[in-house]
């Protein structure tokens, strides 16, 4: 019976997302939204994917990673190599971008996940920088001057990728496996003592998060005509970090909301980059002092609309993220 109940919400979301997709698509093809807005929407989509993928690592599993731009870079270059050098379709590029980034996630995950808290943060930051410097030194992908990439990223691609990212990460989170990750966030020692293979789940979170960051990288690469290693420094990692922090560590819808709002803000401030960064830094500081749990905390948007139900309606699809 509970399964039937969830299906109602599920089908409602499917309907809503279909409407959202069609409306935006019509606005774009009808020329009502010009290329400036189209670009903003695509950028927003990429940021949503990045925010949700980092949310899994930081918000759910509690692994404070600040090298996410590294995975973005790996995905961007890997997918560009597939489409530009091997002349394969975008789909193959995105898939390979995701897989290579996931492998990078595993590579960095296995040795560094023994580290905790700020040590892990610094190690992931170092990893991101190493990735950037490695790309800087590979002539095959253009070194510092980067790679030229054909523009292929369109709204349907972006929308499809957002949908898959959110579905996969939501399904993962709202399951026993997601609960295992949350237990690591809450108390790693206790999770271990309860029979949770903490290393396995930390690596899993890194691999899944990196996979979607890689896909975002593929979309990014095929949106900007040219990609350079300097696009993926740690400032880019901080850009992604702020979505998760602002939205609420542990809230998927919060991360999505923050990505949308901040993309709009940064689009309007794109001619004043230092004003934008000043604004971002203020958000970080004020947020940590007055509302460290972020706008949404660990709650989800859907919980605001739901009546508080008594009793055991909780299972698979309910929001156990709290």
């Amino acid at each position: 019976m509970t399964i039937f109940k969830q299906s109602k919400g599920f089908w409602l979301s499917v309907l809503l997302s279909f409407i959202l997709f069609t409306v935006v698509q019509l606005l774009l093809t009808g020329g009502i939204l010009n290329s400036y807005y189209e670009n903003m929407i695509i950028f927003m989509g990429i940021n949503i994917i990045l925010a949700v993928s980092l949310h899994l690592i930081i918000g759910i599993t509690g692994q404070f990673s600040i090298g996410h731009a590294g995975f973005l870079a790996v995905g961007a270059f890997a997918s560009a190599v597939i489409t530009m050098k091997f002349e394969m379709p975008l789909f193959a590029g995105l898939l390979v971008g995701g897989i290579v980034a996931a492998l990078a996630g595993m590579l960095i995950g296995i040795p560094t996940l023994r580290l905790k808290g700020d040590y892990l943060a610094i190690a992931t930051l170092g990893f991101g920088e190493i990735v950037r410097i490695v790309f800087l030194n590979i002539d095959y992908i253009g070194g510092a001057s980067g790679m030229q990439v054909t523009h292929m990223t369109t709204w349907p691609w972006v929308f499809g990728c957002i949908l898959i990212t959110i579905l996969v990460i939501r399904n993962f989170t709202n399951s026993s496996h997601g609960r295992a990750c949350i237990s690591i966030r809450e108390d790693e020692t206790a999770a271990d003592a309860m029979g949770i293979n903490t290393t396995y789940y930390k690596v899993a979170a890194f691999v899944i998060g990196a996979f979607f960051a890689g896909i975002a990288g593929g979309l990014w690469a095929h949106n900007f005509y040219i990609i350079q290693p300097s696009n993926f420094g740690f400032l880019k990692s901080f850009d992604i970090l702020i979505f998760v922090v602002l939205g609420g560590l542990g809230s998927l819808s919060g991360a999505v909301l923050a990505a949308i709002v901040l993309t709009i803000v940064s689009t309007f401030l794109q001619d004043y980059p230092e004003t934008r960064m000043l604004f971002y830094s203020l958000i970080l500081i004020v947020m940590m002092i007055y509302r460290p749990q972020g706008l949404m905390g660990t709650r989800e948007l859907t919980s605001l609309f739901k009546r508080k139900t008594k009793g055991g309606s909780k299972d698979g699809n309910h929001h156990t993220t709290a």
Binding site: F64, I66, P111, T112, R114, L115, G117, D118, Y119, A121, I122, A123, L125, G126, F127, E129, I130, I133, V134, L136, N137, T189, F238, L241, V245, L249, P273, E274, T275, M277, L278, Y280, S281, L282, I283, L284, I285, M287, M288, I289, P292
Partner: protein, 292 residues
């Protein structure tokens, strides 16, 4: 002899890392915070030194002292405004704040004066070549090394011989107990930020004198590398930061000398990850375990 020259360069650069690393390590030792903004204090120090020299027409040493004093005040302001409210927050919250403060100082600097480069005057210190055992060494290198060593010695004296140094050691050992013993923990933390920031300011002026070019984002990479140096030596341990800084400078010089100068910046991060995995307590640190 090319190699020897590179080693001298490495030690000069390493002494700058060491000066910055000291601030990281002292702050971490006392409040368990990676003060991301520390590299930016170094940048501010370089600019204060620059304006003291060009606008106030001062020579090297007065500029150094002014920069140190100003940075000390700046460091205390940062601590009081941004970090103090978070003293009992999670370490992740403190780290995010530190990242925010760092971004704010960098972009505030760009906002105020633009992103363009400035160049220190080249005639600040006598630049003659001195021959030692047939190797010519720039007198500047020696002077810089000398200034760094003197500052480190002064720091050692402060930490080990003065009252405030004793308080700092007590608070870093156990803040609660220190408080019960009547030590003013807030003032001690402020003093730690002041001393660490003054050293970063000095490093900024020395950097400008030696490498000439300064700009608002100059603190980012040396800041991160100095943190690596602090971890390398064992975070929280003052002699560790000095040795770690010098060692890191040497490693970078050797990587350059081996013909991989483009990879130089990666070397520090590779060292970091290796150290964190194989020797997380650093060269001079003691192994600590989490209480369960």
């Amino acid at each position: 002899m090319e190699l020897f020259q590179q080693l001298v360069n490495g030690i000069s650069l390493g002494s700058i890392y060491a000066l910055i690393a000291l601030g990281y390590t002292m702050v971490y030792g006392i409040v368990k915070l990676i003060n991301f903004a520390h590299g930016d204090v170094f940048m501010v120090g370089a600019f204060i030194g620059f304006y003291s020299i060009t606008v106030l027409d001062l020579s090297f040493f007065p500029a150094l002292l002014i920069s140190m004093a100003a940075c000390a005040v700046f460091g205390v302001i940062i601590e009081r405004i941004a970090y103090k409210p978070l003293r009992n927050a999670t370490r992740i919250a403190a780290l995010i704040t530190a990242i925010g403060v760092s971004l704010m100082i960098e972009n505030g600097m760009i906002f105020i004066r633009g992103a363009q480069l400035e160049a220190y005057p080249t005639n600040l210190l006598p630049s003659e070549n001195i021959d030692i055992f047939g190797v010519s060494i720039k007198s500047q290198s020696l002077l810089i090394l000398g200034v760094s060593l003197v500052l480190m010695m002064i720091l050692q004296i402060i930490v080990h011989k003065t009252k405030i140094g004793k308080a700092m050691r007590a608070v870093s050992y156990d803040a609660e107990a220190a408080k019960l013993m009547g030590i003013n923990v807030n003032n001690t933390i402020s003093a730690t930020f002041a001393i660490g920031s003054a050293l970063a300011g000095a490093a900024g002026v020395i950097f400008g004198t030696y490498y000439i070019k300064i700009e608002p984002l100059m603190g980012v990479l040396p800041g991160l590398k100095a943190f690596v140096a602090a971890v390398l030596g064992g975070i929280g341990i003052i002699p560790g930061a000095m040795v770690g800084g010098l060692l890191l400078g040497l490693i970078e010089a050797l990587v350059s000398a081996a013909g991989f100068s483009l990879w130089r910046d990666a070397a520090a991060f590779v060292v970091l990850i290796l150290i964190l995995i194989f020797l997380p307590q650093g060269l001079f640190g003691k192994n600590k375990r989490e209480k369960v």
